[in-house]
Structures are given as C-alpha cells and as structure tokens.
Subunit: 306 residues, 3 copies
C-alpha cells in the first residue's frame, strides 16, 4: 500500500487488504514487536460525532505503537461552534499532528478534507459514506475465524442504511465468497449497492428469513435495526423481533459458524449466544487494535519516507 | 495482596492495607523509583459519572508509572447512549486496556463488571456502594500524620448517605482506633453500619455536637452535608451551620489535630482553616497519586505474573 | 527569563520575548532537539472555557517535549459544578502536575491562582484580560515573516473587545514598529489602551478604512467582528462587510504583505486569500507548538533548578 490517506475501502485492492491483515496478524502474534516504533509521533483524533469504540481503539493503537494522541474533544467544546469550517479546522490540526483520524456526519467530508491536509488522514466514518477501518477489522476477523475464500457469508439486519454493510459487501467481492443478505423487505440492500455487487461478479442472494440459509453459513454478520427507521413502533417491534438470534436459533447452524456484530448491540443477539463458540463479536471489537496499529504503522512509515 | 480486582475496602485485610500504604510511602520518598516501570501499559478510565479528582489522580498515577491511559469520555459521547449494557461496554474495553477503572452510579456495578472482564478492575465508586481507593488514601493520610493505632478519630457531617464515611469507618476497625461520629440526628450512621462496627469490636460513640469531643481528637474527618438531603431549605441552613468549622473553633483542639476532608468542600471548612497547621485536606487529595500508583503497580505486576 | 509563571505579556521585557522566540526558532529548525527532554513531566490542562486551538497546541507542545498531559475536562464534568472554588481546584491539581495551564472566564483569575500554587502556571486566557502565549506566537510569526523592527503593522477588526489585539499592541511597543488600527468607529481601541500606547512612545494611527493604509503595511492582522456586539443585525452586516478582505482587495498591497488572523475566522478573510502568498494564518496557528514548547521548556527547566 503506497498511499497517504485511507478514505474508502473501495480504494483497496486485494493485495492492499492482505498487506494490512498480514501485518495485523504479525502484531497479534507478538504485540510488543512494534512497541516504541513510533515514539514521539502524534495522532490527531477529530471526532465530530460521538464514538467510543472507534475513537478508543485508534487511541489504543497509537499508544501501543509508542505514539501519542491529541483529541479535539466534542464539537460542543470546540471552535466549530464558533462557525469554523471543516477545512480550516483540519488545516490547523495538521500542524499539530503527524496523522489525523476524522469522523464527521457529512458524506464526502473525509475526501474533501484530504484536499487541505498533507499528513495522512484516515476516514473513521463520514455519515452514510465509508468507514474503511471497520471493514478491515471485519475482514481480519473473518479471515482469522473462517478464512476469506470459499466461504459463505450471511449479512442480516438493516441492509438499507448500514454503511458498515455496504462497505463490507463491496470488499468481500475481492475474495471468493458467497454472500447472502437477510432483511425485512423494507430494509433490503439499496438498488445501487446490489447493482455494483452484480457488476463485480459477486455471488449474491437475498432472503427475508434467516432459516432459509442459516445451515449453509460459515459467517453470520448481524447488524442493528434502528427504531428510528420505522414511523410506527409496532411495525418496528414486529420486524426487529424476526431478526434477533438466540442460542437456540443457532442450533440449526454449523458448529463452526462465526457470529459477528459491529456493536453496540441492543437485542439483536441474545446474551445466551455470548457463551457459545459462535460468539466472535467481542474478539471482533478487540481486533480493531491490531488492525489499526497495522494501518497507522504503514501510513506513518510511508510518511517518514517522503 | 494477591488478587485481580479491587472492588471494596472490606476485601482488604490489615496486611493488605499496610502493603499498599508501605508501597505508597516508598513512592512518596522517591517518586522516580517506579518511573518507566509500566512503560507501554494502558489503563482504561471508564467514568459513567463526572469526576475530577479521582479521574485525574488515576490518570496521573498511571502516567507517573510510565503507562498510558485511554478515556471513555462522558456517557453523553459514548455508545452507552445507544443502549449498550455495562457488561458489553466493559467486555469491549478490556480488549484495549491492561487494567480498568470504573465509576458507575449503580451500587454493585463494579462487582458485576468483574464477571465479564479478565484484566484487573478497580472500583472508583459505585453509587452508594464502595470507593476503596478513597479509603486507602484516607488511611495513608492518617498514618502519615497521626498514626493508625492508639488514635482518636472524629468523623463529622453527613454520616447517613456518605459512602466515603462508611467505608473508612469499616477499614479503621482493622486498627486500634477510637471512633467518634458527629452529625445531626437526621444524618446519623445507618443502623446496619453501626451494627457492623459494634460486631467488629470497634470503640464507637455518637455525638450531635463537635464540642463534646473535639479536645480528645487526633484526627477530624469532615464531610459535606448536601442541600438536597433536606426537603426544607431553612432546615438545611440551620443544620449545616452547626457542622461547619473555622480556625477559631479549632482553638479548643489539640495542636496536633489533623483535619481532613474528601473534597470538594463548599463551606464546611472556612478558608481561614487552610492557613493553620491542622489543614491536611490538600495533602490528602495529593496522596491520591502515590496511593493509586502503589495499587496500580501491584495489580499490573500481579497481572504480569500470570 | 527567570520566573515561575506567565500571566501577562506585559511582564515580558524585550530580552524575555526574544529568548522565547529564539528558542522557538531553534525548535522549529530541529524539532527533535528537545524530544524526551521532559520525559515523565506532567502538564495539567485546566480549561474552564472551551478551546480547541490553544488547548490542543499546549497538549501537542508538552507531548513533543516527551511529557504527558492530564486534562480537567469540561466544567460540566468537574467538581466545579459542585461549588468548588477556583482556588481549591488549583490547589488540588498542583499536586498532580509539574506545571498548569489555566483558561478561565474571569479577568484576573490566573493572577489570583498563582497565590495558591507553587508549580509554574501559564495563563491561557482570563476573560477580557490576557492571553500571553497568543501574543508570543503572534510575535514569532511576525518576526519569521517580516521582522519586528522597522515594520508597519495594521491591526483590523474588533479593537474594542479583542484581548488578543490589546496584548499584541502593547507587546509591539518593545520593538520599532509603526502601528495602524483599522476599525469601525464603534469598535475603536479603548481609551485606556490608546493612552498606554502613547505613553510608551509608540507610533500609532487610527483609521476607519483599510484602503487608507493598506499599501504601506508589512503585516495585516485581522480579527473577527462578533455579531453579538451589535444590538441590530443589519448594523452588524453593514459594518462587518467593510472589514472583510478578499484576494482582489489585496492587489493594492505590497507583494510581501503578511496577513495574519488568530482564528477561527468566519468570513473576515475570503477563502481565495488562502491561495495567495500573503496568507500566513495557518502557519501562525502552527507556530503555537514551537512557541509553547519553548515556553514550557523554560518554565519546567527553571522549576527543575529550584
């Protein structure tokens, strides 16, 4: 990977992805290997929207590399409130940091920001747009647990609005996977996403019920169905209830089924699943650290070579 | 001390307490002795309620040990708002950090959290429950200034709701102390706490006026009477006024009297006390650093030995 | 500079200022020269008002020196909400940190705080009072771009309320500068500030239109005119519009004109100025890091000698 920014998972080729995942696996195998490697380097955390998991795992990743972080804090406590543009904020912050991580509610904001900054910038979510490091840690978790070739993946829940899902589905087309999409009719994959998947030659099928396909799956990726997508509370409850899984539901699955979730979950996955061998969502969250360490190490090293 | 978590002061025996205090005293004597000892280690700060003193002294303690911290930030800016359970949040964060500090408004939450995490966890206050590191720094301050055996301790203020007070009183039964409790009738020690103290063989007496006992005291521990405990503002003002001390009040005390307060104070202790030799509350706050350094060092070293 | 605190730019003589700027220039020339110099030292960030730029550049500066920072967080999440006085808060925090940075809405608060703390304290803005590190980075930027002697400086915008402007104007009297003040009648320099400038022998002129003086200027320092200063929205729009500059406006200026702004800007400087050689405001913001590194290094080294 020879680039300065990571804005979208779509900019990554299969070799790019594998380079990050291989590096992450090396780090996982020997977490102290990179300790002190980026002593003195500073990562700027610019989160224009709240975030626990993503912010804290970037923070952890940078510190595990020996680096430091500076945090913009919440929008309420920043000069954004005084009417500063995103471009100005980022141009100031690039003078403080050796790399920047940006989360912003507007789609396209991360791409726009790269026009103004010279240090490496990582998109940590731009509204309905991209969240490429989530995709990388999802792929890493899949590869560690089930492999990325000749596997059958089910993706269930809110397939219409979930940026995580669109990005993951696109990235999976780089590998030899069969993709099954399971959702209520009203939350199907958007037409554009389906079109792109077909164009790329992906093997894709859609379902409205998990039991149609559960027994075939090597990986089941569950996402949250958000209450606010439904005008009617009863409609929400009816739909959401059909896409929740329990330990009992999973008795029909392969023993080796890997269950993933980007978290936070509310009640899509019952607590009794946590005790099964299927549960991989906490491991998945933890994988954010080695994957982001790998990525930051690569971006900061590229930077150093300039 | 051979354990993984610190949840309650009641889990600590006299030798456990003395081990922490001795280590803290060594650190105080030579603050640089432990510098760099935990290079690369990460402490997760999980404060579900606001905190300045406790949060910042844990932060300082970890950094003085050479370690790093990651901060969950306020609940408003976290995934808790999205309905995530405490158990899920803690299971994610244990993947980022080598130890965790938890403050949470619900009594019993810290104990519950230990069922889900494998890294050492320190309770930094669970509602009306425990706050054991406050107790340790209180004991440390007492020992440095007046000793912990053959001393007469007065504890004054809100004895009914103050978790600090209950925890301290229980811990003092490990030592040869005489305990005097001074409060308005309506804010007496709860019956259960009194019962436990008597059971443990403690020498305990209760008073409604400080002057009944002031001249006997080696240590006076003052706590804040909170306005919100009283339905009637006038009742509050009358009661609170009787449990405030000034430099003049302390003329009847021993010259060596040590005055403590967990802070923040409002008007329980007049500013003119600050200039007297009695005032020990800022030193007490500062003792949070060596005591928490000692504790973290012991927990992280135990961890390393696994 | 042999002192413990930095409260006001007025306490700095020309040699004091030059010592800081010289050190900052050395740091700029070789950013790694001071790396690790203050390993283990802790800077406490006490911001009682929101701040992005100042807080983050102090944070960066300390970390570039090898030190750590602890952050009080917002007032909402601190014990200030419980009624603690500033004096008490600072007395507690000095026990955690080797130096403190304070921003507070009340004029005179930083000076007052020095009566209670023994560690070096830097004023990062006290209401309508002083913000001396802003002045130092302004002077540094001027010296790097146009020199500080035999230069003509224009200061434009809100000259009545802007503490940045008052502090800068006073500091410039240490150097051989000609100062031009450009503002609407209603936002002229306060009489007291004008008086002090005249007393110090400064060459000062006032204008209501930039074109009266633009062609003479070596430096143009623009500040924001705040909407809330005007009771009437239309009045604001009329006035503000006259003190905005575009690339076209600057065609009448010297090629070497340096345009500065303390940021954040709203629309005082059009985006097309950013692409001109005049634009120096992002460089100015970035200069906060080496200047604050120089200052912290000097204060912490003084501290170490005690």
């Amino acid at each position: 990977m020879r680039q300065d920014h990571l804005i979208s998972a779509t900019q990554l080729s299969r070799p790019d992805i594998e380079a990050v995942l291989d590096r992450a696996a090396e780090i996982d195998a020997d977490p102290s290997a990179l300790q002190g490697r980026h002593d003195g380097a500073i990562l700027g955390l610019c989160f224009f929207e709240p975030s626990t998991r993503t912010r804290m795992s970037f923070d952890t990743a940078m510190k595990r590399l020996g680096g430091r972080t500076i945090d913009m804090g919440s929008v309420e406590s920043s000069s954004v409130k005084k009417g500063e543009t995103l471009a100005d904020t980022m141009r100031v912050l690039e003078g403080y940091a050796d790399a920047l991580v940006l989360r912003h509610p507007s789609e396209g904001s991360a791409k726009m920001a790269t026009e103004f900054v010279d240090v490496p910038l990582v998109n940590a979510g731009d509204g309905a747009g991209q969240h490429p490091t989530q995709t990388l840690l999802d792929l890493y978790t899949m590869r560690q647990n089930a492999g990325l070739d000749d596997v059958t993946v089910g993706i269930m829940g809110d397939l219409k609005y979930g940026r995580t899902v669109h990005s993951l589905a696109a990235a999976l087309t780089n590998f030899d996977t069969r993709q099954h999409f399971i959702s209520p009719e009203s939350l199907r994959l958007p037409r554009g996403v389906r079109y792109d998947l077909h164009e790329s030659g992906a093997q894709v099928r859609e379902h409205t019920a998990l039991e149609e396909v559960l027994s075939e799956l090597d990986i089941l990726y569950v996402t949250r169905i958000q209450r606010e997508r439904f005008p009617d509370e009863n409609e929400y409850l009816k739909v959401a209830g059909e896409y929740q899984i329990s330990a009992e539901d999973l008795e029909a699955a392969k023993d080796s089924l890997t269950v993933m979730h980007p978290l936070p979950r509310v009640d899509e996955i019952a607590p009794d699943v946590d005790q099964t061998e299927h549960a991989t969502y906490f491991e998945q969250a933890h994988n954010g650290v080695p994957v982001r360490m790998a990525l930051l190490d690569m971006l900061l090293s590229t930077e150093g070579d300039r």
